[in-house]
Amino acid sequence: MRDNTRLIVLGGSWGGIQASLKILQGLPADYSIPIVLVLHRLRNQEGSLQELFDKKLVLKAVEVDDKTPLEAGHVYIAPSNYHVLLERDHTFSLDASELENYSRPSIDVTFTSAADVFGKNTVGILLSGASKDGSSGLKYIFEKRGTAIVQHPGEAEIATMPLAAINSIPGCSIMNVERIQAYLLTLHGH
């Protein structure tokens, strides 16, 4: 008994900022699906990512505050030093527990939580990075019949993260950022 609201979750590490900017820059202000962005970053670092994305995107970029509701037209950025979880009522819960894959925020944590709530309506996108974080979360999305997309390793600045995902999810879709953006635009308004 899941509803049909969709969610897009993007994850990346080294090279992930540029890739996600390129993808999200093409989306309109009234884009109909909320987007959650998990990028690895230095611990205890202040929130300049939010400013960067808010400046470059038409969409509104915000850092996640605990228990705030998901809204369309927003890009929600995982704050430094917190994991980001999704609740059944489509609000966020933050979590300051152990690092996962040496990371907090961890992409696996958010991807897994998103799939538990949004099931087949989850679109997971894993971008460039020098880490293995994200591939088991993307696999989980795929197993729940959600959409699993991986940035083409030939295009990624660092291919470790895309390759780890491709190896563990034979059925995932491999696309360059241009195609990922075009795909997200096809979801808009449907």
């Binding site: 605990d66 030093n81 917190y82 979880l85 059944r88 979590d95 300051a96 527990s97």
Partner: protein, 276 residues
Amino acid sequence: MKLENEELFELEVEALIKEIHTQYGYDFSGYARASVYRRIKRFLGQKHLQSIDELRKFLFTDSFFFENFLQEVTVNVTEMFRDPTFFKSLRENVLPILSTYPFIKVWDAGCSTGEELFSLAILLEEEGLLSRTKIYATDINQKVLRQAKDGIFSATHMTAYTAAYYAAGGKRDFAEYYTSNYGSVKFNSSLVKNVVFYPHNLATDTSFNEFHLIVCRNVLIYFNRALQERVYQLFDESLVSLGYLALGKKETLAMSEISSKYNFVDKNNRIYRKNS
């Protein structure tokens, strides 16, 4: 865990939460579900348990096992001077005002293993306020309270803690505050001479004193909105007028009924002050 099993898992956890309340008196019904489900799955993995049914058997026959479960499910991860800018702001914006009181009362709510408590005590010491401050350090979990009292931490993180201490405006040689011994450090017990350690459950217990400053950082993120509201009311009852409330960097009073009574002292670091 497979798709069709997820809903079953969640139903079983709901039943387990009721049983735990009946058997042990701990009420998890107001905990944020995304987090509880994740912590329980993690615990099952750690203990190599296959199902909630298997977990139940251990939980209700072995109280030590339950204490372990309690510690894992209620997150106790913490660090010294987490978010150095917060501690710097506390030092610069709050302690000078608190110094005008003859006697200061602080509540460190959800103090866990004590890293935040010792960070606060060091700040108060350096601002010359520790000797006239009484800190109430509370947690739901007796085991972590005992650890907090001992003030013994792993030496692994000391390089990071030292850097965070200086980033927070630390004025001394950080090593003055502790002695090292075989991979652990023990912080000077004089720092917690005026600390009262006290088991307190934010989900069920009531106000027990009046404070000038309440520090509760990254504890309420594990609660749902309704339980958060209960705790905000409890804090409001426990703060003197013009008292301070310090939350985690991504926690907000914005959705609470008490928010109209509070103003930001430092928005970025979520330090609030109660109106007069």
